[in-house]
Amino acid sequence: MNKKIAEPVVEVQSLVAHYGSCEVLHGVDLSIQDGEIMVIMGGSGSGKSTVLRHMLGLNTPTSGVIKLLGQDITHISASKMDALRRNIGVSFQGGALFNSMTVGENIALPLREHTQLDEKTIRIMCRMKLELVNLAGFENLMPAQLSGGMVKRAALARAIIMDPKLLFFDEPSAGLDPVVSAELDELILRIRQAMKTTIVVVTHELDSTFRIADRITVLDQGNILMVGAIDEVRNSKNKRIKDLLERRAREIKIDAEEYLNRLTGETG
């Protein structure tokens, strides 16, 4: 690297987000360097998916700055956003493959929509990516005919078809058995090695996190608890992080009066 401090690929500054009138992110800061695998970890409802949706430009933040590849996506023209999206790949939790298309058509869609490549080149490129995710020969199946692990891999192939600089991955191991999910972890590492992609993974799987992460961001109830390398997180003295790592149930304080009010349905 010739620059002393390379510009981060993803930079989130004091991101505040609401669903309706309920604030779910209370000022999240995040900075992800070129080529690293950043895992955003946290319990259920901590706001992982919400952070991800904001980074993808699917939700608009209440306030804060989100920079991807140096561009602030909260103040960007629609056509610039389109151009930026060609450098970004996303693999959704459920795969989000288009059910009306074959696996091959799914993977080819970004190429068909964004490039002028001829059909033969497109087909070769699709086969290469399918090969990379170990799905060679499956391009003519429909998504409904695939197993859960295959859906994830096909979604990954679609996410990397444009050779993105930045790859987002939502819950890679959700709903998969340990073996398949371990294979997926290897695949993520392989992709980083082959394409030098910066990868952001959102997950609550500890094993998977410790296998693939360069750095970990721990999110809790809309706040960032810590950002650090695997060992730093492992050795953290923070109680909430320890709870999360040791799968301890959190203590829930119950206010007796409030509880009574809730039961009787009276507010205030």
């Binding site: 949706r53 993808l56 430009g57 699917l58 056509s79 956003m81 389109d82 999206r85 060609r86 970004i88 996303v90 959704f92 939790q93 459920g94 989000a96 493959l97 288009f98 059910n99 869609l109 970004p110 929509e113 964004h114």
Partner: protein, 262 residues
């Protein structure tokens, strides 16, 4: 009491919001039709034709059967009513005007709302739930350009086409019954129909059906895009889109008829 008012207030805000969303969806569709190619996102011709097949061609048999039945029904009613005045031969004019101005557009509108409007809501709702809509957006494909515009164009072409088809079949239905019932030949019936109809009568019905087409498509998409909450949400959105589309069609029809006959 206060709660009741609050409920009404919230429902009003909700429907105004929905109306706003529907208008923006329509405006955005026109944007893509006009400027899509310039932004490198042209509207897909093949997707539009595919939608036309689904909306139009596949609906021909059921359209034919319904409009034929409506023609017969009008003939039965017309002949019975006019008999009282000894003017049953005037039924020809009655059938021609009511089929072209009212019944063909209305029947086709309601039929397509039930058949294709619900299909739009279900398809888009399912895509919303499975994050396929999000996937389109992050790939950089506008869901409006990719999903709404082809279906909207297909509706705008096919609903009037089917209505025109229903005009003809409906009048044949009327003729079929009248020829059996009255002392009149098919040829004479056709001659008198042609003499009774002016282009305006047919056009009035066709313009209505263009409006119905837009209503069906936009209502289907508004409901589909607003789905949340899994399979149950899709079911609700589907039902809602059919009820809303049919209600709006009937109201629009009334308004239209009022202004066109004033």
């Amino acid at each position: 009491m206060l709660r009741y008012i609050e409920k009404i207030g919230r429902a009003t805000v909700g429907s105004i919001e929905e109306l706003g969303y529907a208008s923006s969806l329509l405006a955005e569709s026109f944007y893509w039709i006009v400027f899509g190619a310039r932004r490198g996102q042209a509207v897909s011709v093949s997707a539009t034709f595919y939608q036309m097949l689904q909306v139009g061609i596949a609906a021909i048999p059921i359209c034919a059967a319904l409009s034929f039945a409506v023609g017969i029904m009008l003939a039965i009613q017309g002949i019975n009513t006019l008999k009282a005045f000894g003017a049953e031969s005037q039924v020809v004019v009655g059938i021609a005007l009511s089929v072209t101005r009212e019944f063909a557009p209305l029947i086709i509108g309601i039929l397509i709302a039930g058949r294709s409007g619900s299909a739009i809501a279900a398809r888009v709702g399912t895509m919303q739930v499975s994050q396929e809509i999000d996937a389109l957006r992050v790939i950089g494909i506008s869901p409006v350009r990719y999903l709404v515009v082809p279906a909207l164009l297909a509706m705008i072409v096919m609903v009037p086409t089917l209505t025109f088809f229903a005009d003809i079949v409906g009048m044949f239905g009327g003729a079929f019954f009248s020829v059996l019932e009255l002392d009149i030949s098919m040829q004479a019936y056709i001659d008198r129909t042609i003499k009774a109809l002016v282009v305006d009568d047919v056009m009035q019905g066709l313009w209505k059906s263009v409006v119905f087409a837009v209503i069906i498509a936009i209502v289907g998409f508004v409901n589909g895009f607003s789905v949340s909450g899994g399979a149950e949400g899709v079911g609700k959105a589907t039902t809602r889109s059919v009820v809303q589309a049919i209600s709006l069609i009937i109201v629009a029809d009334m308004v239209f008829t009022f202004y066109l006959n004033h």
